[in-house]
């Protein structure tokens, strides 16, 4: 409850700035219209106009909220105009990519920790992979996979995985290496084998490192899924809504897709946070 007030303060500040910017940015179009209609606008008339434009430069928050309400609650989920339908398309690719990325990331980390050769050879490539702009790679992945007959969910999930495995590798390598010399020696005095050390010591030790990585991976996954939807020609998904909106200058649609994506990301990250709390609590590591 203590954190409620500061959060509220920031949110209201955002709304004030947003409304202010909407007035400033949309005023040009309001004055242009007035000039062509040969009327002069008072300040309050101008402000009123900036709040209700059809294709504003920056839609006001209530316009975005109304659009989101209209495209979620008022539309059937199966409708292609439903934001929930589009959101689900993106979410499914995000979750699949996240699962693949997490699995791949953990596997790589286990290999890197246990094999010096892998440590030396794989890690530089893992880092290099993230320096390549995904925006350039995404269309190629989509096109290539399409050429071999894979389309729909999997290519997008693949891009999500490409973005999300990285934080998991980095976090898990650090986590699996977190047991100190003494703990490893202790295991050796009991004549524990490597698999035992992994399951009983390394893996539990890595949990506090895993969850922050998963949060980043989840957010990156969503970005990956949205990016993966852009080159498909805007068929379905939040990315498609963004692209279609920009084709037709539907700024309200763009912003509502954007906000929905942000809400989705926040919800997913919060879900992992919850999972983290439950896990660490059960492990006795939350005091």
């Amino acid at each position: 409850m203590k954190s409620f007030a500061p959060v509220l303060a920031v949110v209201s500040a955002i709304f004030v700035i947003w409304y202010g910017m909407a007035v400033v940015l949309n005023s040009t179009w309001a004055y242009d219209k007035a000039k062509r209609a040969d009327v002069t606008l008072s300040f309050s008339e101008m402000v009123a106009d900036t709040m209700v434009q059809k294709k504003p430069l920056l839609p006001a928050p209530h316009q975005v909220a109304a659009e989101i309400y209209k495209t979620t609650v008022l539309k059937k989920i199966t409708s292609k105009r439903s934001l929930i339908w589009h959101g689900w398309i993106t979410l499914s690719a995000t979750l699949l990519g996240f699962a693949m990325g997490t699995g791949f990331g953990i596997l790589l980390a286990v290999g890197i920790v246990h094999s010096r050769a892998m440590d030396m050879s794989v890690m530089p490539w893992v880092i290099t992979s993230q320096t390549i702009p995904i925006l350039a790679v995404a269309p190629m992945i989509i096109v290539v996979l399409n050429a071999v007959g894979i389309s729909g969910l999997l290519p997008k999930a693949f891009i999500s995985m490409y973005l999300s495995f990285f934080p998991v590798v980095v976090g898990m390598v650090k986590g699996l290496r977190s047991p100190d010399h003494m703990q490893m020696d202790q295991m050796r005095t009991w004549n524990a084998l490597k698999p035992t050390m992994f399951w009983k010591l390394r893996l539990p030790s890595s949990m506090p490192y895993l969850f922050p990585s998963l949060k980043i991976a989840m957010a990156a996954s969503l970005v990956g899924a949205i990016v993966g939807e852009l080159p498909t020609g805007a068929v379905a998904g939040l990315g498609a809504r963004l692209l279609a909106g920009s084709y037709y200058g539907q700024t309200i649609q763009i912003w509502s897709a954007l906000i929905s994506a942000a809400i989705l990301a926040a919800a997913l990250v919060a879900l992992i946070g919850l999972l983290q709390n439950i896990t660490l609590k059960r492990m006795g590591m939350l005091r």
């Binding site: 202790q186 050796r188 004549n191 539990p204 590591m285 005091r287």
Partner: protein, 260 residues
């Protein structure tokens, strides 16, 4: 007395290769530890006392000489789980309860669930921590954590207990108490104990044999067979005999230092 030899080293040498050149950690260590002995290793930092203990535990490999534990190599002894090792820090897993921590070596060694539970309650009673098995390590004081760590080293049937400054991080009052408990425990279990310490009173109070070591290179300066009786109340530390032994330890330390 013709007691069974448990640990024996002959001409033991160990040189670490470091970036600053070789470090002669142990030089010509000849030592015999017999069954039921309580042997303390005392000396200043860098005298190799911890290294010597680690050689016995197969955590370091000597570069010369021989070491046998229970008549076999330290490596075989480790494979046979011949010893329990207590480190400077308790090293309890924060995600396991005290009971869970003590079960850990038992799980690794494949004891049955019933046997695990039985042993946990037995050793917890031995270190006077009965009723704490469901607590997490952070809920215990430093001294209690170290006791739990000793209980863990006792949980499986190793006849040898190797302890590397187990009470080094604890305050003096707690330390006195734990020393008393350790003696009682030793009397009850008849284990052979190797004990590394910085403290002269601790070494004299606990040991049947005190190995005084000196640094650069780490070597044995003196081996003192204690003449103190097996029954040792804390007050024994004020006796003339105790003070004499302590004096001899101090002399050994001093001599080693001035030679080095």
């Amino acid at each position: 007395m013709n007691k069974e030899v448990i640990i024996e080293t002959k001409g033991l040498d160990l040189t670490f290769e470091t970036n600053d050149g070789p470090v002669h950690a142990l030089k010509d260590i000849n030592l015999t530890i017999e069954k039921g002995d309580f042997v303390s290793f005392i000396g200043p930092s860098g005298c190799g006392k911890t290294t010597l203990l680690r050689v016995m535990a197969d955590l370091e490999q000597p570069t010369g000489g021989t070491c046998t534990v229970n008549g076999v190599s330290p490596h075989e002894a480790r494979m046979n789980r011949a010893y329990g090792y207590v480190f400077q820090a308790a090293g309890l897993y924060p995600w396991r309860t005290i009971g869970g921590n003590i079960k850990l070596p038992l799980e690794i060694m494949g004891y049955s669930k019933a046997e695990q539970a039985e042993r946990v309650s037995k050793v917890l009673e031995l270190v006077e921590l009965d009723g704490f098995d469901k607590k997490f390590p952070w809920q215990l004081s430093g001294g209690m954590q170290q006791r739990a760590s000793i209980a863990r080293a006792l949980a499986f049937d190793a006849d040898i207990l190797l302890m590397d400054e187990p009470f080094g991080a604890l305050d003096e009052i707690v330390r006195d108490h734990l020393n008393e408990q350790l003696l009682a425990l030793w009397a009850r279990t008849h284990k052979t104990i190797g004990f590394v310490t910085h403290s002269i009173p601790e070494a004299v109070y606990l040991s049947t044999k005190i190995v005084v070591m000196s640094p650069r290179p780490g070597r044995i300066a003196d081996v003192i067979e204690s003449t103190l009786p097996i029954e040792r109340p804390l007050e024994i530390r004020d006796s003339k005999e105790f003070i004499e032994i302590a004096h001899r330890v101090r002399d050994g330390l001093h001599e080693g230092h001035s030679n080095g």
